[in-house]
């Protein structure tokens, strides 16, 4: 029994805690471009000071939060009806749409983001279609704007929203809705006062599963976003690769983690609570 418990702990220590300790140690170091690895361990706070004095990092952080928040809301608005429809379907009809939700995972994430580039480019499939219909003779370019980043995030993370929502809705006791109807509630009122509050654990879980990785997202803003799209994941990449400033990059990573601990703790608590409820 003890060995069974020790296994995940050993895993966490070897693959999370130790690497994180290394990153933490490097974040207190100084950039040494003429050394390999390019770090001098100096135990200084300069990197963290720079993060809070240079407004680039704060601006990138805020902009990441904003983009992650708006795309999470968009994912919820799109994912909720999907999950709801699947949950209300007859059980034998649920597996096909559920499989379709998971199907994109069979293709590499990177290739799917590249496919969006082909769709959204100036002479991409979408614009060609719009011109062909004649309705929009001069459609603007979506690729390279913040819109494209939002589309990319919503597309890539939609399954992470649909699945927990479906899991909650599927367990819902639909006879409660009949009771609400008997008591005179119209469908909208019944949804708002019965279904929505009962599905809240799924909403919270889905939102956090989308929000947390979206904040640190690098590939989507790099490929779909424009030059003006400022996100913390891109800043981190720039510090590590372009500037080869490992200590500053580590400091950005440490701050990113610390700032995400809040939402992660929320997710953890919510999961624990829903486990308790089902016991």
């Amino acid at each position: 029994m003890r060995a069974v418990i020790a296994l995940p702990f050993t895993w966490l220590i070897v693959f999370f805690l130790l690497p994180f300790a290394l990153v933490l140690a490097i974040s207190f170091g100084t950039n040494a471009p003429d050394a390999a690895p390019p770090v001098a361990l100096t135990w200084s706070l300069d990197n963290f000071k720079l993060l809070f004095t240079d407004d680039l990092y704060v601006a990138a952080w805020l902009s990441s939060l904003r983009i992650a928040a708006t795309s999470t809301i968009a994912t919820l608005l799109l994912g909720y009806p999907m999950a709801y429809a699947i949950a209300r379907a007859r059980p034998e009809r649920r597996s096909l749409p559920l499989m379709l939700v998971v199907l994109p995972f069979w293709t590499s994430f990177l290739i799917r983001v590249y496919a969006w580039m082909g769709l959204l480019a100036e002479n991409g499939i979408l614009n060609q279609f719009l011109r062909w219909t004649g309705l929009v003779p001069d459609p603007g370019t979506i690729l390279g704007t913040e819109w494209a980043v939002h589309i990319g995030i919503v597309y890539a993370y939609l399954p992470f929203m649909v699945l927990p929502l479906y899991a909650t809705l599927e367990k819902l006791d639909w006879s409660l809705l009949e009771a609400a109807a008997d008591l005179g509630a119209r469908p909208v009122a019944a949804f708002l006062t019965v279904t929505l509050p009962l599905s809240l654990p799924g909403v919270v879980a889905g939102c956090l599963l989308v929000f947390i990785p979206a904040v640190g997202e690098f590939v989507i803003p790099d490929l779909l976003g424009g030059t003006g799209t400022l996100m913390i994941g891109k800043v981190l990449w720039d510090e590590f690769f372009t500037n080869a400033d490992w200590p500053l990059a580590s400091a950005v990573a440490v701050c990113l983690l610390v700032l995400l601990v809040g939402p992660m703790a929320l997710f953890q608590r919510q999961q624990a609570r829903s486990l308790e409820r089902h016991r």
Binding site: N31, A36, A59, A121, D245
Partner: protein
Amino acid sequence: MRLGFLACLLACLAGPAFAQGQVNVYNWSDYIAEDQLKVFTKDTGIKVNYTTYDSNEILDAKLKTGRSGYDVVVPTASPFFVRQLAANLYLTLDRAKLKNWGNLDPGIMAQLAKYDPGNAHAIPWMWGTVGIGYNVAEVRRRMPNAPVDSLAMIFDPAVVSRFVDCGVMVLDSPTDVLPAALKYLGLDPDSKSSEDLKKAAEVLKAVRPYIRKFHSSEYINALAGGDICLAFGFSGDILQARDRAAKAVEKREIAYAIPSQGAMLWIDVAAIPKDAPHPEAAYRFLDFMLDPKVAAASSTLTGYANGNAAATALLPKAIAENPWIYPPPDIRAKLYTVTAANAEQVRERTRLWTTIKTGR
């Protein structure tokens, strides 16, 4: 049983590290004529483990982490190779083991010596320029007398603003673009002074609203596919765009111009990391790269000039006589190179670059 498995695992892990019969080459994608690799293996019996990358930064991070396992790598001379050389990552070449050394182009070697004193650690592979790529018809339609061979095409707001509707892309690389902006201002492109760099940044901020994106490779497809009509990028990439556009269903004529003010000359070099597991095989491979036949075949594939003087005679005319690839002497005399910056200058430069890009 379990011991047997472990022993096998260890043997498998240790096997490649001790065998001299192979060489681990890490090169840019599409950067060597791959059929020649088979010839190398046939001639020497050395197996080539050939892997590719598409950014200097990835190579840099791998080398600096240590124990990369590569025997031959091909970084760009400045700023990457210089920085790696300063970190003492490369083997000093023993020229006795490179019988083809004499084929190298003395002019390119002299430029390279600025980064690698005495040419002690690296051989030049491909070289090219940074210049202006454009869609001939779209540019002509918007501005019949466009100064296509001048940096004004990119850095003069009055000119570049004419092309905002058909799209402009610029390399996402402060080390390639800021020197050009300095050159446009008539300043020393190699200047590291804060004052000069701020002036260059002002030039870029003035044209920033007309630039759709800063990116270091997307412009190839964008130019070929008609998504943009003007790009500031690498010569070979723009030649690739030209070839793709010529093959496309909807044909487009793409042209390249080396700025008349002078253009940046970049050189990619081949070198052996100090911790290379198979140094002897690495020497054989470098010597193979110095073979004029191999260099010529690779230039034919990539559309870049090589640093091998003996290879020029073997090149097809379309390449050897193409002024975009092998510029005539008067233009070649105006090409410039830049030296590496120190850590503080690098941070200042990239910070300035972020300010320009995000328009803040």
